[in-house]
Chain length 191, copies 2
DNA sequence: TGGTACATGTAACATGTTACATGATTAG
DNA sequence: CTAATCATGTAACATGTTACATGTACCA
């Protein structure tokens, strides 16, 4: 066995296929829900990895269902490849946070724009925190295992930290007029 | 002006070149220090982007110095391209955290391995927090601008949150025998 | 009968990673 | 004189992104 070199995206798909046969569409949805918070993937990647893994014998295509649904089943070789992957040393995380780049070069950004960017991102994170809170509660209620809880707790912790950081920013970075941000007017700019 | 489509990595290099001519080597070091915490880049990318930007007229190569050092200067076209880039809407961040994948599939990981992975990563983050604390202090003392402080504060906040999350994990996920983890023996396991 | 959600797939390109090749300069 | 560090660059490949093409089934 030459131990086909799995990448983390492919390995995750194999991981989900341990729970039963699934189609690319289902796998994408499952992955985005369960690992999407710390491992992004796209539809295109999913189909590519599935095709590659099928060619390598790690998964087997089943019969098409309705709407051309193409289910895949994990093979013994797939289980072996996954088992080898999951016990490797995980590399460190990478974060790519474009808003922080914009802030790092903030001297060059018109203040109105910078303020708008910061406020918009803050709202996005507030929304994500709310979503994690719902997911976390639901998982706890449903008696999810400690591994699922740990990942959800990470999301919660991360989003709270990001919001705390937003709150710590000096006011100038949050200010700036509303521009293109709703039904204009109403901008109660003080001072 | 067709507004050459900058990617964030190239744009960042242009951003640093506003401070004066620099070589690829210097740019790499500068970038890793100033934005490396939230925007990873490699040596190979730096040279590739510099070559592409020079070809596009955004930067100009100066005379070679000692040791083949090749300094680049930003051109007016480069400043214009950067100015356009920096006021675009920044996309959302992407995080790719392999350890969390390993935990998500933790059911399939031998407990000793999982514990070791978690402990090792915790140490890495403790080290990074310490590094951020030093950088943050130094920057404050040196009177760095609010933009630099904001990015350093992000690093601090993020690393503290990650460590808090590690501390919140159930003990089983941190346990497991020491294996390959130093000069064996001495394992004062209590209880 | 027309729009929306489902579902798969490809193509083209951009970006990121790893490894290697080459050579200059400095410090010991 | 030799090892370490500085410094640039390329090649090959892996991964990620965006856009498009195609068709099915459901539901109002």
């Amino acid at each position: 066995m030459p131990t086909y070199p799995l990448n983390p995206t492919a390995a995750s798909l194999l991981g989900f296929l341990h729970e039963g046969p699934m189609t690319g569409w289902d796998l994408l949805a499952t992955a985005q829900l369960r690992i999407g918070g710390f491992w992004s993937l796209t539809q295109s990647q999913v189909y590519r990895e599935l095709a590659a893994m099928a060619a390598a014998g790690l998964i087997a295509a089943g019969e098409r269902g309705r709407r051309e649904r193409q289910p895949y089943t994990i093979t013994p070789a797939g289980r072996a490849a996954f088992a080898a992957w999951v016990r490797r040393e995980p590399p460190e995380e990478t974060i790519r946070f474009p808003l922080l780049l914009t802030i790092a070069f903030g001297r060059s950004v018109p203040l109105d724009d910078l303020g708008r960017f910061v406020r918009e991102h803050r709202e996005v994170h507030a929304g994500r925190l709310a979503a994690y809170e719902r997911l976390h509660d639901a998982a706890r209620t449903a008696g999810a295992d400690a591994y699922a809880m740990a990942t959800l707790t990470f999301g919660l912790t991360y989003e709270r930290a990001v919001l705390a950081w937003f709150a710590s920013l000096p006011e100038e970075m949050l200010a700036g007029s509303e521009r293109g941000d709703g039904p204009a007017g109403e901008a109660t700019s003080p001072a």
